[in-house]
């Protein structure tokens, strides 16, 4: 482990390090608060319930949502996506997806295709997967019910123009997968008329794993994924039909949400600029044998990118970076085979670098030198 540099470049898998308040809040919950959400009247239960509702309010601020109660909290972005796809889509529906979707979207869609005859097709896009907004209408059929867009690709970091996408197809519901974006890229849900916005707590927001959720603009459109106790309306064996209880079956991850609330209150301060990221990418592009998988234009680039090499495979690059320089990266297909196929890297996979706000220009220089040395 290199002690002079922050060598963790796998923040798209999960962010590290977290703000110190996150662990403190989780410890405080476990040691001092206890209690759980909405199950009783005593102080511990009220404090626990307040953690959940305060977290919902902070997420609403972050994602520009007017009705925080329509934010469904669950364990991760995958569960949130499953909630929408299995609760909103009906037999025979058609879905348009971006070419850079993650398996968190594609695997549930595949199951729905097998079970209830859902079909999908891919939105038109540039070579980097950036959706061609002006051509969207040509791909809508009379059965198209949903458009799904990965706001930031977890392979090449391209940022999709979700506001313009919704503007181009205002009558079709839009699901934004914000797993890689919420916490670092702007998402104005209500202003942009977003119908579903998925987030995770443990990546760009900087919270712990086991926290995530989805904003559902109109909860009447979506059936529940799971049913169970909510602490409300207990005399009825039917789930409540109002927000947020409709989607709050079972005890939430109280420890996790205590940490997430702390993370939301203590966002990390950036030690590098977008220009530093652009400079790093350009320098890596200049290395012999290296191809950088990134956005075509720097203004569409979020803080992650991948590389391939003409003679080294991605696993070897990742292993060498770690064993020789302590640089932690992720190699392979990143659970996004569809994106890799679109980017022509499905046979090789790629070695991905995903930054933390805490990385300094010195850390980026260290990374560049490590890559340069490994691929020479």
């Amino acid at each position: 482990m290199n002690i002079e540099h922050l060598t963790y470049f796998d923040n798209s898998s999960t962010s590290f390090p977290k703000h110190q308040s996150v662990a403190k809040a989780m410890s405080h919950y476990l040691n001092c608060i206890g209690g759980t959400y909405g199950r009783s009247f005593y102080k511990r239960s009220i404090e626990a319930s307040a953690i959940i509702e305060d977290t919902r309010d902070k997420l609403a601020e972050l994602m520009h949502i007017d009705n925080p109660e329509n934010i469904v909290l669950c364990n991760n972005a995958t569960q949130a996506i499953n909630t929408v796809l299995k609760g909103f889509l009906k037999s025979g529906d058609h879905v348009l997806v971006s070419p850079l979707e993650h398996n968190a979207v594609m695997r549930p869609l595949k199951r729905l295709a097998n079970n209830i005859n859902i079909s999908w097709s891919t939105l038109p896009a540039n070579s980097d997967g950036l959706i061609l907004v002006d051509e969207i209408q040509n791909h809508i059929t009379d059965r198209t019910k949903l458009i799904i867009v990965n706001h930031v690709s977890n392979v090449n970091g391209v940022i999709q123009p979700v506001k313009q996408i919704k503007g181009a197809a205002p009558d079709i519901a839009l699901l934004v997968d914000g797993a890689q974006s919420v916490g670092k890229e702007q998402l104005k849900c209500d202003m942009w008329s977003i119908d579903f916005a998925v987030f995770t707590g443990h990546k760009a927001i900087g919270g712990p794993t086991g926290t995530g959720g989805v904003y559902i603009k109109n909860i009447n459109t979506t059936d529940t994924l799971i049913e169970g106790g909510t602490g409300s309306n207990s005399e009825d064996i039917v789930m409540p039909d109002y927000a947020p209880d409709k989607f709050m079956a079972g005890t939430p991850n109280m420890v996790g949400f205590a940490g997430l609330f702390a993370a939301l209150n203590n966002p990390l301060v950036y030690n590098h600029t977008q220009a530093d990221l652009t400079d790093l990418i350009e320098r890596v592009k200049s290395l012999d044998g290296v191809e950088v998988i990134c956005a075509n234009k720097p203004e569409n680039q979020s803080s992650l990118f991948s590389i391939t090499h003409n003679s080294m495979n991605s696993s070897a690059i990742s292993a060498e970076l770690y064993s020789r320089f302590g640089v932690e990266t992720r190699a392979g297909l990143h659970c996004a085979p569809m994106a890799h196929k679109y980017l022509n890297t499905d046979n090789t996979g790629s070695c991905r670098f995903s930054l933390s706000p805490l990385h300094t220009t010195s850390d980026l220089e260290y990374l560049y030198r490590a890559i340069k040395d490994v691929v020479k």
């Binding site: 959400y37 009247f41 309306n233 209880d245």
Partner: protein, 71 residues
């Protein structure tokens, strides 16, 4: 003895009510929902009769749906 209760359909509404009423000088307590009202397992707010009007006004001003019940 006559007691006044306010019950809420969701935990979120109960928490919001406690937050808002806690900033006033109105005396109230958070208690379990009385069995006479429902088999509810959550929270309700109880208070003396003279506070009812102020609590209703405060909750209404803040758009918190609630039910007032006298036992």
């Amino acid at each position: 003895m006559r007691r006044e209760y306010f019950v809420f359909r969701s935990t979120r509404d109960a928490i919001k009510s406690d937050r808002i009423l806690g900033k006033t000088d109105i005396k109230y307590s958070v208690v379990p929902v009385p069995k006479e009202i429902s088999a509810e397992c959550g929270m309700s707010i109880t208070t003396a009769t003279e506070n009812i009007e102020r609590i209703i006004d405060t909750l209404t001003e803040n758009s918190i749906s609630h039910r007032h019940i006298t036992l």
